[in-house]
């Protein structure tokens, strides 16, 4: 389903309409997840009220830095992206993939008992829509489908919110993923000083709009929204040159830059945890005291962990050099072979949350021979 960007399908509702939207979704049984402030960062959590939104706050980001600051207005969505991404809800950090019970007839295995919550995501950015599309391809696009992701994904209602500002670490324009939300949403909002412009992206989206006190948008409102979105685009300064990037990286597996970045990287896994597309997991056994009831727990893992590549007797990627190389070449190069697109959407999270300010765009430029 693609969003029809023509003005006919654009609606407008006043600021009070946002609470109404949350209420409508909750009445329909959705758990509404949206941005909220926790421990000095804007994260995604279940919300019931607009009061929980980070109204009047923005995020100031630099490589290795994240700080909340007051805005000089009362915008609800006046920030870019924080340490969370929606993968936390579609692809939970911890899930039970199967259960085994010892019976008289031996071990019996059953599917995950975990419930599949029905989520409505409020405030999904363009780069995050792209990230969801990438994870769709990983978990649903191959011969084997991940049932946990599928069940959550099928039920999810996606409300995108266009960026009206950009962060220092954003480079969605290089990755062709933003800042404009174009597809992959049920509704897309653009925040204006006195309300929201709404685009409808699906039938269930228009059903919800019908329940709101929304009216067809006026030309001036559409233009103001376009202006606001343009402002975000103009603020983006970071670039990643993706020209022939797959071959660039895969033919430079012995480039000295890998050893260089290894002297800085702590192998802390932060970048993989915050990345909205990273999908590596490990499975562990959790049994009751008798050992007759066993659950298989799947947990987010990271290629930066030493034992990630463990094979009886040793680890394949024994040094940080090979682990950083694995991460970057997977994300920006092998991903193209595997899933038909880059694994990076240009959200900048890995740059912001790296404790030592490693910036993948700089690393790629160095391998390209453009060290600043």
């Amino acid at each position: 389903m693609t969003a029809n960007a023509s003005t006919e399908s654009e609606f407008f509702f006043a600021r009070a309409g946002l609470q109404q939207l949350i209420d409508v979704l909750r009445t329909r049984g959705y758990k509404v997840v949206g941005p909220t402030i926790d421990q000095g960062a804007i994260i995604y959590d279940e919300i019931a009220s607009v009061d929980q939104l980070p109204q009047g706050w923005t995020d100031q980001q630099e490589p290795g830095q994240y700080r909340l600051e007051r805005r000089n207005d009362e915008a609800w969505f006046g920030y870019v992206v924080g340490p969370h991404s929606w993968k936390r809800y579609l692809f939970p950090p911890l899930a039970t993939v199967s259960v085994a019970d010892k019976t008289a007839a031996g071990w019996q295995m059953t599917s995950s008992p975990d419930p599949s919550p029905k989520y409505a995501f409020l405030g999904v950015r363009a780069c995050e829509l792209a990230a969801i599309k990438i994870q769709d391809r990983v978990f649903l696009g191959g011969a084997y489908v991940d049932p946990i992701y599928r069940d959550r994904r099928e039920q999810a209602f996606v409300i995108a919110v266009n960026c009206t500002m950009a962060g220092t670490n954003c480079f969605c324009t290089s990755m062709n993923t933003g800042p404009r939300c174009r597809t992959g949403f049920d509704l897309a909002l653009t925040e204006l000083p006195d309300g929201f412009l709404i685009e409808v992206g699906s039938d269930s989206g228009s059903e919800i709009v019908r329940e709101l006190q929304a009216r067809v948008a006026e030309l001036a409102e559409s233009q103001a929204a376009e202006q606001a979105r343009l402002q975000a685009e103009l603020q983006i300064t970071k670039k990643l040159d993706t020209t022939d990037i797959r071959n660039l990286l895969l033919t430079n597996l012995e480039h000295p830059r890998w050893a260089d970045v290894a002297t800085r990287c702590l192998s802390c896994t932060n970048c993989t945890m915050v990345c909205p597309t990273c999908f590596c997991t490990s499975v562990s056994e959790v049994s009751d005291l008798q050992g007759d009831h066993v659950e298989r727990h799947r947990q987010w893992d990271s290629c930066f962990n030493l034992d990630f590549s463990y094979m009886n007797g040793g680890n394949v990627r024994n040094d940080i050099r090979s682990r950083y190389r694995q991460w970057l070449t997977h994300k920006l190069a092998s991903w193209i072979d595997q899933f038909g697109s880059s694994g990076c959407v240009g959200c900048g999270r890995c740059i912001t949350w790296c404790p030592v300010a490693i910036d993948l765009t700089v690393e790629v430029a160095a391998i390209r021979g453009e060290t600043p």
């Binding site: 290894a262 002297t263 030493l306 007797g313 040793g314 024994n318 040094d319």
Partner: protein, 168 residues
């Protein structure tokens, strides 16, 4: 030797040792070589003994053993057609580093080490070819020995390979 056996010169080429060399050179080499045969079980030479021939195996397998006190003979390698035996006759001091046993009826070309060295000294073009052949054979043997040393099929990883301190 039956009449269908290839001539020494032919066999030196068949065995790759002298393949591609000019007829003249091969003839000179054949002149200092002879066929030798060993019945299965024959000890061709023993570790530490003097031996002055370089052998090029033409048929049959030879086992190379090294004697380890209190452990007995340990088989290091077996050699087959086309492979060189007793290279220390040429580049060592003539004392053999291992014991060679014919595991099957063995036929070989024995090249007189002293005369070969003399030929190499007189004719550096031949010397270069012979030494190149020898170097190739020895480097090949070295790689094979390293692989054996790695103990690839061992169930426990040798500690030397796995540093307890993570490399950065």
């Amino acid at each position: 030797m039956s009449s269908t056996d290839p001539s020494l010169a032919e066999e030196l080429c068949n065995l790759q040792f002298a393949s591609g060399w000019s007829d003249g050179v091969v003839t000179e080499l054949a002149a200092i070589s002879k066929y030798v045969e060993f019945a299965a079980g024959t000890i061709i030479f023993t570790q530490g003994a003097e031996n002055h021939d370089l052998f090029l195996l033409s048929a049959g397998r030879v086992g190379l053993d090294m004697y380890v006190p209190a452990r007995g003979a340990v088989r290091i390698l077996t050699l087959s057609r086309g492979e060189l035996l007793a290279w220390s006759a040429l580049v060592g001091d003539g004392h053999m580093t291992a014991t060679a046993t014919a595991l099957e009826p063995v036929r070989a070309i024995a090249i007189d080490g002293a005369r070969l060295l003399d030929l190499c000294d007189r004719r550096h073009d031949i010397g270069y070819r012979v030494m190149k052949r020898l170097a190739w054979a020895l480097s090949h043997r070295l790689v094979a020995t390293r692989l054996q040393l790695l103990d690839l099929y061992s169930h426990t990883t040798p500690h030397v390979l796995q540093s307890p301190v993570e490399r950065r």
